[in-house]
Symmetry: D2
Subunit: 367 residues, 4 copies
């Protein structure tokens, strides 16, 4: 473990606004996090072995799982409307078909490293059955929603160390309030724009019909080329002085959008599409090998299990544009936050990835 | 084990054409199976515990896995163009995003019972890594394509007994020639129209541009209500004299279409859509709880790993309609074959499902 | 005008149930028509010149326009939720993008012959502006929903004779109650399965949550090959003794589904997809040159112009399957009704198309 | 006609690069225009009546039509592969269904003002029939691809003055080489970010597999709010000193992507999606009332009418990412060019829209 790594361990995470840099025009929520949407909780399980001796096929693991729980009631009984969008499909997501056909999420959203997906799915089934023993015994099912980014550069992908214990822990520890960012949970081994990245989050508050609504975004970021990194419109990637990783992959990004605005799946799909627009502002291009998926849900309507019909409230189309803008801004900032919160990292086989040089960045970007 | 079950064990499987009943106008291939498309291989692993004493949560398993291997070369190195269609999404399929974005399959197609999906995915990763150790170590991935139908009525869904050994065996034993149908592989615990069902297959041969092309279909069938069962246009479901299961679920169906006609993903999507039309002719309605997915691939073009560009041949749009008709007919017959090949079955907790009464059927349906 | 034509003029239209033949399991509504959904109105403008001398490029026209008005209030102010599905895209439909994005119809549905589409669109704009002069002057628009089938065999496609007068008349004369079928309106010059076809309609009534709901379907039918025509499961096409047209095109079909069940766009899309399943049961294959589009709307929710949010009621996913079955049955019967109501027809350049031989049919199909 | 307007008439159009401002990392083509893709031609018909006395319902028209012809051969006989993407659907596009199902364009792409769409469609049919008299007489059709943006602020939408003569002229005068930008053709009456906008274009050249390929983009721009306008990452919209229009609509944008890289419809859809990412970088948000459509075509493959099969070349997925980046950059610059080329404009009812203040802009944006 070298000095660089030591430094990283002792520096607390930073956020873009900690440096006085504001993105966008809209106000942010209390925590500037997806948890500003009341009831939304986030949990991480982080497995961080950094650089220990290991064979090529069984090297150290730097990976994890992140869970986003839509509300504080039982998420299987009280489902929330949700929608999905795919910007580029070179990745894996499970539970999408159920989500799109039925228009709801029947559990939390799980994010993890690529080859962990099946074991996380499997663990979600186990945990859901533990909570609801009638699942699987009759006409009751659960459809785990799990999406991945590849941590292959820094973690042994094939080891697949995230199972029942890790999933249950992340889920049970999911909390409201501030959200840990950077190299935590599913973000532990991720890289974006040639810098260490991982989990990032942000939120916006807008007024629609004289009501205040919050949009919160959380990203699991593994996307973008160094030269293209753009912070608040400044293409800093080509001028930041920091070593590039010796080894680059095309990456992926998962974009989670939560809102308390009353919307149903059709409207939520529009938010998911706008998250992609926020992504574009960072310089990401959704390159060929990228799995870029967005999912949006609203906490303001519930599809209660057993109810024969539902009374939904939905904002009129004509008033939703501010929520589009909120989604775009929060997504852009969430991704930059994922970079700001991450530090230098040494992973599998000594692969080194630099943290974003924050002091340099501060000098380059207007406040 | 009662007498009914004994009978079942000793009766060889039957196919619709064994009874002299022909469906559709087009000629069938040598085996009237998906394997009539040269190079396509099918393998099954069957776990059949029938009715043994067991707790509600750890009852006997009647489940399995079925694999369809697109050709006899290395399917990860030589990918085939493919397409996907979703008729109803209350089910799970993995690998779809990769398939749709990249337009290819990078491995075989796996079918299994609902909650087995993650363990089958996990096993496919293991097996793919065993065959190609560079997977997961750099920029190489594998995207397991796994689709499910629920065998919850006859098998303990939560037990999830299909893992690495079972997947590897099905894959390695995949063979061309005749295909086992009915209560085998992923079809072991399936039910359709209130009768025992499972795997079924059929094929059609058509002439396009003076060339003979084959379309082969394989289904994993768990769909339909008794009253609606329609065989060769005759709504036999309401007149067949056979006990109904005490317990019914809404079911699902997976439709696999293979062809040697030169097509790419856009054209193949059209075949996947036509498989849904063949399904409709049997009386299936893709009810709310059903996961009805179709995937189509062509063996006549390859996307070779490492090649920088590809020379593809594709039939003109104006000549493909006979392949639509072939897909429709083969799908309809494959589903009826899944019923014809299945016998009375006693599964989890003594749940009994009758086999299709073939003698009765023969009297009701014109040849 | 030959004797065959004379006969045709004097025979009243027939419907499948007039011959005692019942399709499906469910009950039909009062008129067995799309107008069984309360408030839905249908209007036709028919231009029937039959076979008069004419040049190749300016021959006689046998075409028209059909309008389906979703309810009896102002359809621009009180929009209904709607959804769209495309089975095969070799056709034209306008207004689809608005419908899919906003989830509503902002006017009636218009059906016409292929090259009439722009002139019908143009006329709908004129009529909408006449009714609402603020359209086009500010932020108010109208998005004409117009879909077509080709009447090229029997009508001069290039003449495009349907304009403002014809559209306004069909719209203003739209009525509830019995619906004229066969060679009327958009169906005037259509052909299906090598027989004269056109407009057909049917309905089903189902009970969901102890409430009776109606599904009504109207089709504009120009689809299918003679050999494949299937009536109540009997492939009658190959045995009916009637001359085939000398000239065949691949055709198209538009499927309109109306319901009074409380559904929103996501659920309605599921009905649109089931209409395609009903189509499949008639032997249609959605061949390459076909434009097969389905649109479904519900009269039970309104998106009122000017409202800032909406209170919607929607049936739970778990209870909607009977509406799927209703859609499938009504679509199948609507298409057969389109055939039953049509008589021998002589159109452009003396092209002759036989009416379905009803007496023969009656002998072939069980009651 | 005031002095402001006079000034506008005599100032030649400017482009972003004329001011020394470069966007993006990649090289531009000869003309920095969609016509850098060899064979692509662009034509405009401009109707500019500016502010003349007129009633509310029959005011002056400032509208037009723009045509993009994919190559210099017969575009109906030699179709090019194409794909479509919809970012927001509050607009109209015709010909999309054919394009998506058959994977090709069978004619040029036409852009115009909203309510002109039907008359442009109608004119395209007339012109196509004039060129190919067998269209409409048998099994031959034409599927006009027409997309719109609203020029309602500056032009009388209801007047619909673009018909056969205007379309034929734009089409016949379509030329390669430099492309007129700003208030011309379909862009005559358009507004973006509260500034006068219209047509803009740009291109990029990239090397893939040691071959140089060009991506050219043309936009018809009517999108964005003043505060959000972002040029080269600088949110200039809130600091530029220029009057805002008294009246704002939500607008739309059509994004046309052309390339000579060998791609088919699936790959081209990926380019269409990236055009949306370029749009996002300008501050556009695809607000509720916007019709944001992208279409991409390749000149490197042809679907020849009458051929029974086709030999296509397609780049491997793994090498196409540079074309994604090229599309993003060219789209961003095309939209800014649409603003730079436009001058102060007085339209219908004296509505005034300022041109982008170029001198101010130059001082705000780094070179």
């Amino acid at each position: 473990m070298d000095g660089r790594l030591m430094a990283q361990e002792t520096t607390p995470p930073t956020r873009l606004r900690d440096m006085g840099i504001k993105l966008g025009l809209l106000a942010v929520g209390t925590y500037n996090a997806i948890t500003d949407v009341a009831g939304v909780r986030v949990g991480h399980y982080t497995l961080r072995e950094n650089d220990r001796p290991g064979s090529e096929t069984r090297g150290p693991c730097n990976t994890g799982v992140t869970v986003i729980v839509p509300h504080s009631d039982d998420v299987w009984l009280d489902r929330v409307p949700a929608a999905f969008s795919m910007l580029n499909g070179a990745g894996e997501v499970t539970g999408r078909e159920y989500l799109e056909e039925l228009g709801t999420l029947d559990g939390p959203i799980f994010l993890t490293g690529t080859f962990n997906v099946p074991r996380v799915m499997d663990a979600v089934i186990s945990e859901a059955v533990r909570r609801h023993p009638n699942i699987g015994m009759g006409r009751h099912f659960v459809n785990p929603f799990v999406a991945e980014c590849s941590d292959a550069m820094l973690s042994d992908l094939v080891a697949r160390p995230i199972g029942e214990r890790e999933v249950a822990q992340a889920w049970s520890e999911a909390a409201s309030g501030p959200v840990a960012e950077g190299s935590v949970g599913a973000g532990t081994g991720l890289v974006s724009f040639g810098f260490k990245a991982g989990i990032g989050t942000s939120s916006r508050v807008v007024e629609v019909n004289s009501q205040r609504y919050t949009v919160g975004v959380l990203v699991s970021a593994n996307t973008g080329e160094r030269e293209l990194l753009t912070v608040k419109g400044i293409r800093v990637g080509s001028i930041l002085d920091a070593p590039k990783p010796r080894w680059v992959q095309e990456g992926s990004i998962i974009l989670i959008v939560a809102t308390d605005a009353p919307m149903l799946s059709r409207q939520l799909k529009r938010l998911a599409r706008r998250a992609e627009m926020g992504l574009a502002r960072t310089g990401a291009t959704a390159s060929n090998g990228s799995g870029d998926f967005a999912v949006a849900f609203s906490t303001a309507n519930r599809t209660k299990r057993g109810a024969l019909s539902h009374n939904f409230v939905e904002l009129d189309n004509d008033v939703v544009s501010p929520l589009f803008q909120a989604t775009i801004e929060a997504t852009e900032e969430a991704l930059i936050n994922a970079l700001c919160a991450s530090r230098d990292f040494v992973g599998r086989n000594g692969h080194f990835v630099a943290g974003l040089p924050l002091e340099q960045l501060k000098r380059m970007v207007p406040l």
